[in-house]
Each structure stands twice: as structure tokens, then as C-alpha cells.
């Protein structure tokens, strides 16, 4: 009965964090502990409901075919000559959204718990929790949206929270800049998404996902293939920025200026995958347009490789993780682009666990080292911070793709579907990315946790509120992948697009090769960074390929390119418009003004400035109109009045 209740009241899940947000903002703000309690409590309750709802969905196969949708009428818009557009607010529960609902609320709960320890003593403690709650609320709203407009609202709310949380340390200039950057970048892309949504509305006349998917399937009744292509690409622009795809990925690494739990929650586990989720949700649209699919796949693959090459040279721990995130998001996009919702979502699912784990681990390290971020300055932390280190290592194994950790299965799934789809170049890129991933991630681990201890550091293990999430997530990173092993692919039975995957033959070759690639990457990292105590080889390599190294270290100068573009193009055109404005527009306006001024001088006498005088005349006018309307009839009156006007 409780499951039933949860299923039919899934809107409670976003509502509870939203309530927590309101309560904290309006009532509990002066009492940090109370705020944290409300926030975590709200989140935990939401997680409870989400778990129930997910349980409800995953025990009932009917929802895979027919999502559970219930909605309330919000607006009815009607324009003359067009069919009435009804906009609903509602909940759509199918396995995909149920999985997301569970994942987001679960991870958010633990990250909030983690934040209790991490943010202790911060002056903005309560505010931070209110933001986290608001974020969770909007993300969950996004997940359960049954409707594109609702989803877009949540999408923007999520962006707002991201902005608030990145800029949380608003006393730091870099944080403020990063927040602005994230906001602006996302806005640029959201414009595309908004256009796409509008286009969909105009074309198909509905915003409900279910209805839309039905109509899209028969899109030729409504529109042409060209339009569809355009729409698909427009819709894809939104996820490009939100999920940090090339070339709009630039905000994501900078977003690490926010507190670490934020990085973990937003920029690794939940918000950034919103784009992937959106693409997954809209896969029925992309599916109709092969060009768009290819675009998605290529963007994903390129982003994955591109980000991985940057990550190998970065020095800051969170930055490495950030580029790794970008890279993994590229993986997911790749999977979606080759048409496998299963693989994409599966990677998203596993990635959420191990990446959140790694970010939290990084946060724990930073917390212990008083925010010293450079991995070269760490070392040997495993002795002082065993829990953090070992959980981090688990995360590293998972992301590198060592069986049987979670990342292996999902990554393997992606590689397999890429290969099966016949995208060999993409496969090669993905495989190489996998190698790089293992390399840079273990580079990080070897540098930070092993090797010699640095005497100037005095690390210590973090409090229990920080350790418990780490352990739980580590357990997750070890096990959640088992849902989707090729032998018993429960995952694919539930989450798929089109036809359900049948766990048929096992692609042993791909599986073994990806494991080997991972091991190779780790071994390379081991030789370069752990065995070689003086790091001679590394330095020599960097010296030898200095230009390449610099290119990678400076992130291919993409930020600089954007800057240059802004400076030259935008400023130049602005100058041009300025001149036009000064001479042409102002000239006209001033000329008219001069005329007005002269005539005004003449009429000035009539103006007494006294309100009651005006009112008097005004009422005389009203009387005149009334008399006119009655005695001369309304049409004459309007004629006369029209003349006066």
C-alpha cells in the first residue's frame, strides 16, 4: 500500500526538498544544525519515497511499455486558428525516470550527509543546505517531468542552483567568475533548447513526452525531414552545454570552484547528466534523424577523447576529476548516439556512483590538507587517511574499468554497442580514451595517495558524516555494475529504447580487450609515477613533447579562443552599432524632439501641474463621451473619438 502511495504521489519526492528549502530560507536559517537536519531529513524522506516508487516501477513490467503518467492541467493556451495547446504539470514514471529518481535522491542524500561534515563552521552553512535542497528538488522535478515545458523549467532551475552553488564562496573572485561562466555558457545553449522545444510545440502541438513520442514516430504527417533534423539539432544544443560536451564544456572544469560536495553532486553525479538524460528521453526524436544521431555520437566520442587528453596533464585534483567527468559524459553521449539507451543510462548509473565517490574522496583530501589542491604536493595519504584512500582506489578501479567493478561493465557495454553498430573509428577513439582514463586516474591515485609522504602536510581522517557516504558509495561503485553484466543483464530488460536487449552472446573479445586496455593504462601510470620515484621519465617526456604538453595543459587554448572571439568580433560590431546609433538613430530622434519641444512651448500654458485641475477636465471629457455615446450612438461616438485620437 505504501508502494502504491509512493507511486501515485511521486511528486512528493521533489516537493519534500523544495519544502526543506522554503523552511530553511524562511525559518530555520539562523540555526545551522536545524537547517542541516531539515535538509538531510527532507532528502532522506524523499529518497525513501523515491526508493519505494522505484521499487514499484521495477516490480511491474507494464510501466516499461506504458509509463505511469498523471498530470494536472496547468494552462490552456489557444490562439485563433490554431488547435488549443494544453500544458500539463505532471509525473511520468517509467524505468528510466524511476532509476534516475532513485539515483539522484540516493546520491543527494549521502552528499548532503557528507556536507554536514564538510561545511561545518562555514558562515553560510544554512544557506548552503537550502541551495542543496533546492537543487535536489529541481533535479528531481526534471527527472519526473512528464512534459517538456516542465522539464525545461526544472532544467533552468537546475542551472540556477548550479550558478548559486558554484559561486557559493562568493568572496573568491574565481568562484564568482566561474559561476558567471557556467551560467552564461548554459544560457547560450538553453536558447537552442528553448527554440527546439518551441519548434516541437509548433510542429506537433503537444509537450507531453508520451504524446510527443507517438506523434514523432509518425512525423511525416506533421512536417518534413529537414525540419526534424533542425529540431533534433536544436534540442541537442541544450545538452551540449549542460553535459559539458565539446565545445561548450569550458564551464565544467571551472565549476570546481564550488564546494566539493557541490562538485560531486552537481558536476559529477546529477546535474551534468541531465543533458544525457534529456537526450535519452528524446531519443525517439533523434532516432528519426540519423544525422542527429551521428552528431551526438561523434560529439560524444570526440569529447571523451579530447577531455581525456587534457586530464593527463592537469595538476589540481578536482580539475582532473572534472575533465574525467567531461570525458565520461562523452562516453554516455557516444552510447546514446549509437542508439543504445541501455548503455548510456547504464554508464550514467555507474558513473554517478564512482564519480560521486571520487569527488567526495577528493573533498575529504582537500578538507584534510586545508584546500591544497595540487596532486604533486600530496603523497602517501593512504597511511593517514585509510578510509578515504581505499574508497578512492575503489573508485579508481571502477572508472578505469577493472572487472568486476561497476565501470567495467558499463564501459564494456558502450564499447560493445559501438562495435556492434559498426562505428569502428568511434570504437577506436573510445578504446583509446579508456586507456587514457585508466592512465590519468591512476596517475592521480599514485601521486596523491601513494609514494612519499610530504612532511609539510598533516592530513587526518575526516569525520564520520564524511566517511559514511564514502563507504556507502564505494560499496555502490563495487556492486552496482553487476546489474548489467552480459550474463544476466537485468538492466537491459528494463531500460531500453526500441527493442529490449536480449542478453545473447557474450562479446568476450571486447570484454577482454577493454580489461587489458585498463590494466595497461594503470601499469603505465605505475611505471611513470610510482615506480619512478624521481619522476625523471615524466619530466623528460613533458620536456620532449613540450608543445603537446602545453597544448594539453592549457586545455587546447579553448578559453582563450572564446575570449579572442568576444574581444574582436563582438566589440567590433558593437562599435559599428554605436556609430549608427549616434548619428542615424539619435539624429532622427533629436529632430523629432526639437519639433516636439517647440510645439510643447506653445502648449505649456495649458499645464497647471495641479492634479485636481486635470481631474476636472478629465471628468468633463468622460461626461462628453458618455453623452455622445448615448445620444449619438456608439458608432458615431467612436468615429468622433477616433478623429480626436
Amino acid at each position: 500500500m505504501l508502494v502504491e502511495f509512493a507511486l501515485h504521489h511521486a511528486w512528493l519526492v521533489p516537493l519534500l526538498p523544495a519544502l526543506a528549502f522554503l523552511i530553511i530560507v524562511f525559518l530555520a536559517r539562523p540555526w545551522p544544525k536545524l537547517s542541516a537536519f531539515i535538509s538531510v531529513g527532507g532528502m532522506a524522506t524523499a529518497c525513501f519515497f523515491a526508493t519505494l516508487a522505484a521499487y514499484g516501477v521495477f516490480t511491474n513490467h507494464q510501466y516499461t511499455e506504458h509509463p505511469l503518467v498523471y498530470a494536472a492541467r496547468w494552462l490552456t493556451l489557444g490562439l485563433p486558428g490554431m488547435p488549443e495547446l494544453q500544458i500539463n504539470v505532471g509525473v511520468q514514471l517509467d524505468p528510466t525516470s524511476a532509476m534516475m529518481l532513485f539515483m539522484v535522491s540516493f546520491i543527494a542524500t549521502f552528499i548532503q550527509l557528507y556536507s554536514v561534515g564538510y561545511m561545518k563552521g562555514d558562515p553560510g552553512f544554512s544557506v548552503f543546505f537550502s541551495y542543496l535542497s533546492l537543487f535536489a528538488a529541481s533535479m528531481l522535478l526534471l527527472v519526473i517531468s512528464s512534459n517538456l515545458l516542465q522539464m525545461f523549467i526544472a532544467w533552468e532551475l537546475v542551472g540556477l542552483c548550479s550558478y548559486l552553488l558554484i559561486g557559493f564562496y562568493s568572496h573568491k573572485i574565481s568562484a564568482r567568475e566561474a559561476a558567471k561562466k557556467a551560467f552564461v555558457t548554459c544560457r547560450v545553449a538553453d536558447f537552442g533548447l528553448l527554440l527546439g522545444i518551441l519548434g516541437l510545440v509548433i510542429t506537433f502541438g503537444t509537450l507531453d513526452l508520451v504524446e510527443l513520442s507517438e506523434r514523432v514516430a509518425n512525423f511525416r504527417e506533421y512536417t518534413t525531414f529537414g525540419t526534424m533534423t533542425l529540431l533534433a539539432i536544436l534540442v541537442f544544443i541544450g545538452p551540449i552545454a549542460k553535459s559539458g560536451q565539446f565545445p561548450l564544456h569550458v564551464w565544467l572544469p571551472d565549476a570546481m570552484e564550488g564546494p566539493t560536495p557541490v562538485s560531486a553532486l552537481i558536476h559529477a553525479a546529477t546535474m551534468v547528466v541531465a543533458g544525457v538524460y534529456l537526450v535519452g528521453r528524446m531519443l525517439f526524436l533523434f532516432h528519426e534523424v540519423p544525422v542527429a544521431m551521428d552528431l551526438v555520437a561523434i560529439t560524444g566520442a570526440f569529447t571523451a577523447l579530447f577531455a581525456a587528453t587534457i586530464a593527463i596533464t592537469q595538476r589540481e585534483i578536482k580539475r582532473i576529476l572534472a575533465y574525467s567527468t567531461v570525458s565520461q559524459l562523452g562516453y554516455m553521449m557516444l552510447a546514446l548516439g549509437v542508439g543504445s539507451l541501455t548503455a548510456g543510462m547504464f554508464h550514467m548509473w555507474t558513473h554517478a556512483f564512482f564519480k560521486a565517490l571520487m569527488f567526495l574522496g577528493a573533498g575529504s583530501v582537500l578538507h584534510a590538507l586545508h584546500h591544497k589542491a595540487d596532486v604533486w604536493e600530496m603523497g602517501g595519504l593512504v597511511k593517514k587517511m585509510p578510509i578515504t584512500s581505499w574508497t578512492f582506489v575503489i573508485g579508481g578501479l571502477a572508472i578505469a574499468g577493472i572487472p568486476p567493478f561497476a565501470g567495467f561493465w558499463s564501459k564494456d557495454e558502450i564499447l560493445v554497442v559501438t562495435l556492434n553498430g559498426g562505428h569502428y573509428i568511434l570504437y577506436a577513439m573510445a578504446a583509446f580514451t579508456a586507456f587514457l582514463t585508466a592512465f590519468y586516474m591512476w596517475r592521480l591515485i599514485f601521486l596523491a595517495f601513494y609514494g612519499e609522504e610530504k612532511p609539510e602536510n598533516h592530513p587526518h581522517e575526516s569525520p564520520w558524516t564524511m566517511c559514511v557516504p564514502l563507504i556507502v558509495l564505494a560499496a555502490g561503485a563495487m556492486t552496482v555494475g553487476l546489474l548489467g553484466t552480459p550474463w544476466n543483464n537485468i538492466w537491459a530488460e528494463w531500460i531500453f529504447f526500441g527493442e529490449a536487449h536480449h542478453s545473447g552472446e557474450i562479446a568476450w573479445g571486447a570484454m577482454i580487450s577493454s580489461a587489458v586496455i585498463a590494466v595497461a593504462g594503470i601499469y603505465l601510470a605505475y611505471t611513470l609515477y610510482l615506480k619512478d620515484k624521481e619522476k625523471v621519465k615524466v619530466k623528460a617526456l613533458a620536456e620532449r613533447y613540450k608543445s603537446l604538453y602545453n597544448l594539453s595543459f592549457n586545455k587546447y587554448y579553448i578559453d582563450e579562443m572564446y575570449l579572442w572571439f568576444n574581444h574582436t568580433m563582438v566589440d567590433g560590431s558593437a562599435k559599428l552599432f554605436y556609430l549608427f546609433d549616434i548619428y542615424v538613430v539619435d539624429g532622427i530622434v533629436n529632430g523629432l524632439g526639437g519639433f516636439g519641444k517647440l510645439s510643447g512651448e506653445g502648449l505649456r500654458v495649458l499645464q497647471t501641474g495641479r492634479l485636481q485641475n486635470y481631474a476636472l477636465v478629465f471628468f468633463l471629457g468622460v461626461l462628453a463621451i458618455a453623452v455622445l455615446m448615448v445620444f449619438a450612438g456608439p458608432s458615431t461616438a467612436s468615429l468622433v473619438l477616433g478623429g480626436v485620437m
Partner: protein, 350 residues
């Protein structure tokens, strides 16, 4: 027998008039007038008695015994006081606004009288059973503000002016949480009829289901009738006596008695809305319903007095802050929580 004492009297009167051949409409009007007069007399006598009760309570709480000279246990004390006050001259300050100055004490009893007409004192004992009874009560209660203000302004005294400014500010800002707190009850009952509100408490008093609302209502009500700790209006150590500073004789007495009348009103209201009105608890129906009503009312009156003789007075900015920053959000939250609770209650359907 006792239970229907008053209804029987009313019925008797009606029959008497009927048999005398009075047309039914006039009959109604006569009865209404009789009821109203009875209420007026009741309020006045009760207010007199409450003054004595206040003095007794104060005395007892201060290790004294209070008035005990006039009549047995001092029962006639206030009567004598009123007699004295009536016989005194009402001094009118030279620069006072005479119309307002004299009108204010004359009008001050009108709103309480009209409010009491709508309160059910017992089973079938209500002079005016209004559909929007609760709202009617609040509407009339808000009128008192003007009257107090008239007195303060008319006195043309700076202390009075300050006092009347405080009256207006305080009453306006505490009316809001008071009404909002009752909203929860209205939601639960689905009606603003006081009789129905009482009937809805047959099983459980609303003080159980709406404890926060009761608290807010009671605090705001205490503030509404300017009692300690919210007696800034007449805070004698600050602004002497506020709006009544210049009043003497019967003018003062009217204000004084009106204060007790308003205490009675808020206690009666709280009883009706939250304490089950005339309903007998634990099935103790052998005590007549109207007696229950008065019992509950007097308990609340005693609590109000108890407050007065325990608490210091809060400051004017704290008063405003408390009203706007704590009570109003709290009452809004209460409405919200009540709504959610009702929804869940219905959704789960216990």
C-alpha cells in the same frame, strides 16, 4: 432542567407573545431585543465582576488578598468603584477634540456587544446564528481600534498620541496572525459558522489537532486586547496610561470595563474555536452546556490574568517583530501544514 433553562425562558416568552396576539415578525424582533439586552447586561455585570476577579487574582499572586472590605469578600468593591466614578466629573482638556473625546468611551462597548450576539453560549443559545460568524467576529473586533484611537487622539496629549499610535499598530498587526491561525480550523470544519465549528469538535477539540493555531490565536488575542505582556498601549511606566491618560470618571471606567469585555470576548472565542465551546468533555453532560462554556471561558480569563501578573511588558519594536516575524509566518506555516495534513489524511484514508 438546568440545561435548557435559558431556551425555556425564551420559549416561554415567545409563547407569551404569541398568545398575546403579537405578529410573528414583531415577536422575533422583540425576542432579539430581549436577547441583546440580556447580553448587554451580562457583559456589564461580568466586566464588573472581572475587575474584581483581576484584583483578587493579582492580590493572591502577590501574597496579598485583594479587596475584601465592601460586601462579603469584597464582592461589591467594583460596584462601589463604579458608583464613585459615575458621580465624578469627567474633566475635558481644554485643547481636546471634544467630539472624539466624548464619543470614544460612549462607543467602546458597541463592538463587544455586537460580537457577543454571535457567540453560542450553550446549546441553542445564540442570538444571531450567522453563516459567517467567525468572520463577523473578526470584522467587528477590528472596529475597536478606531474607538481606542479616537480616545487617544481626542485627548490631544503626547502620551495619548503615542498610545493611540501603538494601539493602531498593535491591533492591525496582530489581527493578521489571529485570523490566519483560525484559518486552519476553518479548513478542517469547512464552515465559518460558530455552531458548526463547535459541532465539529464533538470528538476532539481543536486544541488537540491545532495546538499551534491555538497558541498563536491566544497570543495574538492577548495582544489584541492589550494585556500584559503586550500592554504597551497603556504601559504605565512608559506612556502613563496611553489613550486613557486624560480620562477621568466614567470615561475612564468605560475604557476600563471595555478591556474586560474584550478579554471575555477573546476567551469566549478561544473557547468556541479551540476548546469545544459548550461541549461537555468526557461525557460530563449532567453539567449544563452553558455552564461548561462559562467554565472554560473563565479558565482562559484566569490564564490571561495569570499572564498579566507574571510577565513584564515587551518593547514596541519587539512587539512588532514578534508579530510579523514569528507569528505571521508561523500561522501561515500552520495553514500550510494543515492543508498537507488534510490531503495526506484523505489520500491515505485512514
Amino acid at each position: 432542567m438546568l440545561e435548557n433553562l435559558f431556551t425555556n425562558i425564551a420559549g416561554l416568552l415567545r409563547n407569551l407573545l404569541d398568545s398575546a396576539g403579537v405578529p410573528p415578525l414583531w415577536n422575533d424582533v422583540t425576542l432579539l431585543v430581549v436577547k441583546l439586552v440580556a447580553i448587554l447586561v451580562f457583559i456589564l455585570i461580568n466586566a464588573l465582576w472581572l475587575v474584581l476577579m483581576e484584583r483578587k487574582v493579582a492580590g493572591y499572586m502577590q501574597a496579598r488578598i485583594g479587596p475584601n472590605r465592601v460586601g462579603p469578600w469584597g464582592l461589591l468593591q467594583t460596584t462601589c468603584d463604579i458608583g464613585k466614578l459615575i458621580s465624578k466629573e469627567i474633566p475635558i482638556p481644554k485643547s481636546a477634540d471634544k467630539i472624539l473625546f466624548l464619543l470614544a468611551p460612549a462607543l467602546v462597548f458597541v463592538p463587544p456587544l455586537m460580537i457577543f450576539a454571535a457567540i453560542p453560549f450553550g446549546k441553542d443559545m445564540v442570538a444571531l446564528d450567522l453563516n459567517i460568524g467567525l468572520f463577523y467576529v473578526f470584522a467587528l473586533a477590528s472596529l475597536t481600534t478606531i474607538i481606542f484611537w479616537m480616545g487617544g487622539w481626542g485627548s490631544n496629549n503626547k502620551y495619548s498620541l503615542l498610545g493611540s499610535m501603538r494601539v493602531v499598530a498593535q491591533m492591525v498587526s496582530y489581527e493578521l496572525p489571529m485570523i490566519l491561525s483560525v484559518l486552519g480550523v476553518i479548513m478542517l470544519v469547512g464552515s465559518m459558522n460558530l455552531t458548526e465549528i463547535i459541532a465539529a469538535q464533538q470528538n476532539m477539540w481543536f486544541i488537540v489537532t491545532q495546538p499551534i493555531a491555538f497558541l498563536i490565536f491566544f497570543i495574538a488575542a492577548v495582544a489584541e486586547c492589550n494585556r500584559t505582556p503586550f500592554d504597551l498601549v497603556e504601559g504605565e511606566s512608559e506612556i502613563i496610561n496611553g489613550p486613557y491618560t486624560e480620562y477621568g470618571g466614567m470615561g475612564f471606567a468605560m475604557f476600563f470595563l471595555a478591556e474586560y469585555a474584550s478579554i471575555m470576548i477573546i476567551s469566549a472565542m478561544a473557547t468556541t474555536i479551540f476548546l469545544g465551546g459548550w461541549l461537555a468533555p468526557f461525557g460530563l453532560t449532567f453539567i449544563p452546556s452553558w455552564l461548561w462554556f462559562f467554565l472554560k471561558m473563565y479558565v482562559l480569563i484566569f490564564v490571561v490574568m495569570w499572564f498579566r501578573w507574571t510577565f513584564p511588558r515587551i518593547r514596541v519594536d519587539q512587539l512588532m517583530g514578534f508579530g510579523w516575524k514569528i507569528l505571521v509566518p508561523l500561522s501561515l506555516a500552520n495553514v500550510f501544514v494543515t492543508g498537507i495534513g488534510m490531503y495526506i489524511y484523505r489520500a491515505i484514508g485512514w
